[in-house]
Subunit: 393 residues, 4 copies
């Protein structure tokens, strides 16, 4: 093995974790579990993994959850775990969008911390109401906009904030995929089915599923608020109920201008989230499929390839990094980063101390609401023929 | 030397070429001259190279133009060359935008063929009038949208037309540069000065200079007409008179949707024209800075890297190619391609025969007018807060 | 979240794991632990983590190992764990090279399965002796040539075996790094110290550390045996005791020819392991720093970019994959793959059933011996001025 | 058009050029002619283009050579051109390798300057003799190792010489192609036929054809002399008379070590010449297929992408550059660079002045002899089972 240094997984208190959703075949649940395990800060001890009792039970057994803590519903789970002395510290909610609100509320109201898959809910009004509940509860609440966990995304944010590229002028963000190029939902493919179904996904398809990631990434890195957008949502696949492509113009506070493109019908693109930010004195480029790299182009100098844990990598990047440069980290490690930082936050809460400030970047309620406003504004703008529409709040 | 085959420069009649503009220090003139020389189809024999007589004379001498054919004005040149039995067959007009119309008219009216730098003129009304004159004259008229001369652009067009990616849904075109990131025009840099001056460039800066190339490329490759656009033009550099960044939504006939971004304030980008086209069954990607490659992604298959003159290269690519695969061709070769094809057209005219159909793709009046309508619509839309604006005609 | 399908971590029996070495600050131990955790097939329950008692104890505590199972020496650990009814099923040996043999022997002789970091030992004669012991013991023995765990490496191997590129002619493998460009070992940096120390690393530096990975990868993917090599080992950094750069010619059984370059003094290279294999009908390229891609170039056709879990990905790649295409997996996931497959093998042994054949590709004794022969032959050849030297056995 | 500055083609005296070889279908002749034309420093006025009289005549006509100067043999051409007051200033010799020596001698002895395609001859003894003749003649002699004409190759050389990467330690050069993967010579393909024929190519196939380019590039950029090599030449295609793959270890004066790989049987590689040089304080990488880029990796800093005519481009790069950054130049422009510099040298000679020192880098006799010694040593070493063999002289 060839590793010249670097930090191992942070040691620290191991939290008791429960999960709602994520039974067998529900992919995102598996991702959350790997993310939770990776840095050894969680132990999965309880679950309401499926609304089908048999599946729930089988899934729990496969995951080494004790039979007594394999619940038939999140309500039951919330009640009984809250009552146990060794009840869960935190719950991960990994159900489809329309089923986020109820479990989040149930656990939050019992003081159990929550990690919720994005987007926050499937409707803005639900989100606003839920946010109120969560705020009042005082819990730690994390929303897994996982791309913010990448070391080089952290570094990009830090560099922009430090003025490395000067005041931002132009923001180009895009997130093309191709998996919905044909009418996959007709085949019964589970992911395709619910993501193209307004009842389960909300008013937006591609915009809600991946456009929100792109939007979140742009705001996260630039530190700017998008104030208005002009959106054209399209549905290219005949018979599909929601948009599968979105084109938008963006206006940011302070005068920066941008574009956002998200698509699920762009053949050749697997998961090609990419952000480019241009300021008065330089540019930055980051692409999800090559996440260990960040291209920094100071105006008037040759572009520099900054690599995770390599020369020029910043403290923020190091904080989010596990292994030496040249040993690629990927999607799961970035996801795990959010879990690790939430563990820091929750452990600090349990231990009645201040958390490490470096762990406070995990997206939460605020980002969840921004995402819902973005979706809502995009749908509204598109209905009004791409008229400029404000993101209130 | 290692060349395994390929075609040499096509032999053929050598034309007598004159040039208007392009004196010492005027860069684009030098490019046109190299392009004209590369395939040995032109001999530069006359010029009105500068409005300053001394510079005109010195430039002509440096270019081996006989003193008697170094003219003080394009008017004089048009008259005298038209009168010579060995007068020029064709003239290249390489002046700044606002000085295209007058010389084009002067030569066209005398039946001398014209190669004109883009855009056609600096105002749409002039362009329409000029187009009438040129049409009536019956001359061969070429407009140097040089990026259409690239072999892999030709192949992309051919593939789209042949249905290789199915009906087009999404068109993403962008053309970022960074050379106007600061207020370069204040330094007296000649290119920056006239390109940011409304009197010489017209109503658009970045949009007219490079946005038109992007627009032309998108229409050329897809074969689709853009019907409406919603544009936000920005001027980020304080004190600049014209736009230096443009964001647009595009609607094409037949339902395709697209985006266009052009910028001259995007640090790190030299000349990063790039086109991506997505259809129902596949995608295509081409980037000007790596012009020998075309990425073809048939949906459900691994992306394929098609290389100029390599496996999978089409007849259209071969037609526009000079040397074997792996030996990169570039900007000048693509520019020369237009010159070569115009030579074919003009020689055919002189010889009273039909030209090779493969040589008829050179942009001309029609593309020139499309470009002017694009510029006009973009400026108009931006004035109306990015309202959808039709590209009439 | 945007994941369109794919397989989650395989469920299965969770094994009790012990670790020798890998205390605080010893990086590779942390990598092994993450790898063990990632697919939830191991629980770390015992350790002899350091030869310094205090460090051993602190490390164990940080890793949630019960105090009674934090041992002061591997001998004690082997004895006591073998005696417990709930003793460890398997031990990971992650000490420096010269300390592999003794613990491996201790556990093997007690029937405890072993996962050993590479190379097998620091001297060939030890390796041969150890191999005998291990063979007689009948245990499952895995050697973490981790790069063989990458999905696209698996696919490359499968493709070569299936004749996708025809009989192999040329093998180009290289593994440059730059971290030893200066005399880092003088700074006290721990990794640099032992890796440049003959007493702890053996007769080879760069060759043993990373050259073996390159060699292993070449044999793994091609399925060919390297029979002879001609090596020039260099030490460029003054005062260094072992080689920091190696150049080799390789001859494979069946007539294929190759080159191997490994270096730790090549500035700009982080961990740039890269393999290219050319056969009679096609070529394959894989690079560790972009591990989700495999370039396949069938002769006479455009190169194809095969992506992990994308179109064209094979069953072997799917077997080694966790998440959908476009979501990059990296170094840790490949390392975890070996752990997962060893868990399959060990669980099958415990359950007295046949393991999944797909899990039998993990390098073991054979590859460990090949690696030692490679190191030995390289050192010998270099001493004899790059004379051809056989890899016996 | 979008060009922000840059230099046009240098004006200067136009030379009268003759050509030996290069008739219709002989590809390299066409390349030399384009190269000669590109910067307008030559006019092709005479030729002995083919040994077949009809082809010679037709070729001359197609190239606008006056009938009286279309010769049936180079001997006749040398005599008659030397006798004309307006005879050629310089001749380009573009015949197959075994036919370089005789015409070079014929023109040199008459004081006519010579541009010769590489390699110098097909046998070392001929080369040595020829070199004597050329030296005594006092003519300007250029050998078209065209890759040395690339701006970024020039910059790399300049940077190494200036110490930008410190003393060189490691040199990795490779030149893979795939066009001889099958027995193309059997098909009658002209290039394949003579390049695999010992009678016309000399004792080496791939080594002579492209290995020499790689070798020349390595010495040109590093400024180091390769003193010894150990080579394994292989012929993978059955029935082929010469090597089609070569693997070599290299030892340079001063202690640098290197590897050279050239192949014509590596599927997927078109013309993938690539050089990497590593010194004590940095690394440099250049690849022919992306020739406008040079990657500079100062140790301990992020790698920097230096682009032709962009930030960080050096005077040497500017000297060899025609158009602004981001507008790719390629193979023909680099080839033309040698022609331009030879025109500068010859014009200076004719004008009895000193040439621009920047024009003196064109390879000539010395490089030609180095190339022949390289070929000879490689063949000799391979015959002796890859024994170390000196490059004398």
């Amino acid at each position: 093995m060839t590793i010249e240094g670097g930090q191992g997984a942070a040691a620290g208190r191991r939290l008791r974790l429960g999960m709602v959703g994520g039974g067998e075949g529900a992919f995102i649940g598996a991702v959350h579990r790997i993310a939770a395990r990776l840095d050894d800060r969680y132990e999965l001890v309880a679950g309401a993994l499926s609304s089908e009792p048999e599946r729930a039970k089988a899934s729990a057994a496969a995951l080494h959850i004790a039979p007594g803590r394999a619940y038939g519903s999140f309500t039951e789970m919330a009640e009984r775990e809250a009552a146990r002395p060794d009840g869960i510290d935190v719950v991960a909610v990994v159900t489809p969008n329309h089923m986020h609100a109820a479990p989040v509320r149930a656990f939050a109201e019992r003081g159990i911390h929550v990690i919720c898959d994005k987007p926050l809910t499937h409707r803005l009004e639900d989100a606003l109401e839920l946010a109120e509940v969560v705020r009042r509860s005082g819990i730690v609440f994390g929303l897994t906009h996982n791309y913010t966990g990448h070391p080089m995304v952290r570094q990009a944010r830090e560099m922009v904030a430090a003025g490395a590229i000067g005041p931002v002028r132009v923001v180009q963000v895009e997130y093309p995929q191709d998996w919905l190029t044909t009418r996959l939902e007709e085949s019964g493919q589970k992911q395709a089915s619910w993501r193209t179904d307004p009842a389960r996904s909300g008013a937006a398809g591609c915009v809600g599923d991946i456009g929100t990631h792109a939007f979140n990434l742009a705001e996260f890195v630039t530190g700017l608020r998008c104030e208005r957008l002009a959106a054209e949502l399209s549905t290219f696949v005949q018979g599909r109920a929601l948009d599968d492509n979105a084109h938008m113009l963006l206006r940011f506070a302070g005068g920066a201008r941008g574009m956002l493109w998200s698509s699920q019908v762009a053949p050749g693109n697997e998961n090609a989230l990419r952000l480019r930010v241009y300021g008065e004195t330089g540019g930055l480029e980051w692409a999800q499929e090559q996440p260990n790299h960040l291209l920094h182009s100071p105006f008037g100098e040759p572009p520099r390839l900054i690599r995770r844990a390599g020369a020029g990598a910043s403290p923020a990047a190091a904080h989010a990094s596990r292994i030496p440069g040249g040993h690629p980290e990927g999607y799961l490690e970035a996801f795990a980063q959010l879990y690790r930082e939430l563990a820091d936050q929750i452990a600090a809460r349990l231990d009645r101390r201040q958390p490490d400030p470096a762990s406070l970047l995990v997206p939460g309620l605020e980002e969840g609401l921004r995402g819902m406003r973005f979706i809502t504004a995009a749908v509204e703008s598109s209905r009004r023929d791409a008229a400029w529409t404000a993101l209130e709040g």
